[in-house]
């Protein structure tokens, strides 16, 4: 008799099956390939992947809507495709319990991820396609600042993650540590 499993358990099991392992049989390879294919479909499914899929979808929309020179009615540069990819990698690297940002494009074609829970607390990160260094700035009450951090596409820099959590927490005593 079949027993129901939670979506979380299913996703965790699928992720485990899709990673390289020690099994070498033809059947094991077939299982792994199927799991990888299903993981891709899982990531595309907003119902299972949640907010991250929505943000990545919004980034892909930007690549179409901001593809032309002068998209702002002035002389804005086309959005940088490499910047879109880097921003998407950043979203994927965020912890699953992290608040998701809004997306935007700077006039020089860089992609912006913005956390703006209030006028007193805001954080914005810029991604330029030709650099693995992220430029970011924040306002947290009377505290404000800017910094640069390196992003290797797999792990969100600790101080950037701290800044995101500090800005998006509801605690009145939250503050950002200086970079």
């Amino acid at each position: 008799m079949f027993e129901p499993i939670s979506i979380l358990s299913f996703t965790v099991a699928l992720h485990g099956l899709s990673r390289p392992g020690s099994a070498v049989s033809v059947e094991a390879s077939r299982v792994r390939a199927r799991a990888e294919s299903m993981m891709e479909r899982v990531e595309r499914s907003d119902a299972l992947f949640g907010g991250k899929a929505s943000v990545i979808s919004a980034l892909l929309n930007l690549s179409q809507s901001h593809a032309e020179m002068g998209w702002d009615g002035d002389d804005a540069a086309p959005v940088d495709g490499g910047a879109i990819a880097l921003a998407a990698a950043f979203i994927r690297a965020l912890p699953d319990d992290c608040n998701m940002p809004e997306v935007g494009v700077d006039p020089d074609g860089a992609v912006a991820l913005d956390w703006m829970p209030s006028r007193r607390r805001m954080l914005s990160i810029s991604f330029a396609g030709d650099s693995d260094r992220l430029a970011y700035a924040w306002i947290d009450g009377t505290d404000r600042g800017n910094a640069v951090a390196k992003f290797d596409r797999d792990l969100v820099p600790g101080r950037v993650l701290d800044a995101i959590r500090s800005i998006t927490t509801t605690s009145e005593r939250a503050s950002i540590r200086a970079a």
């Binding site: 930007l62 809507s65 901001h66 998209w71 702002d72 009615g73 002035d74 002389d75 804005a76 540069a77 809004e102 997306v103 935007g104 494009v105 700077d106 006039p107 020089d108 860089a110 912006a112 913005d114 703006m116 006028r119 007193r120 805001m122 914005s124 810029s126 330029a128 650099s131 260094r133 992220l134 430029a135 970011y136 700035a137 924040w138 306002i139 404000r144 600042g145 800017n146 910094a147 640069v148």
Partner: protein, 145 residues
Amino acid sequence: MPSDQLQRRLNVLPSGLPEYVADAEPLSRFLTSDSHFNSVMAKPSAFMPRNDSAETSVFRQGPDSLPALWETADGALVGRNVRAVAILTGADVRQARLNVKADEPPLKHANIVGWPSGQEDVELMRAQRKERALLMAQAARLIKR
């Protein structure tokens, strides 16, 4: 008051406005991209300059008459759909450690200037600009069309 500033206060431009942009003067940043604002406020991207120009275009006009404001927007951004306007003051710009200077024609046009520029570390320069853009986003009032 420095003599050049006094002179700019006395000089009158074709628009009839003085050359010097006063602290209390309203400035309008017209927004054509949905990605530059959300439901309540303009985003910092709305104020960022392009790397090479290091200027952000604004118009010296406030929301006293919205029809007149949209007319200015449509005249300035011909063929573009102006979706919203972010309104701030000369003081807001200067509190972000920038400046605003008249630049006519077109009439009532000005530029936000003084952005960090010419640095070898482009990403650090971008971070410094972003902080100033955040301050203006914080101060600006958003009006959707």
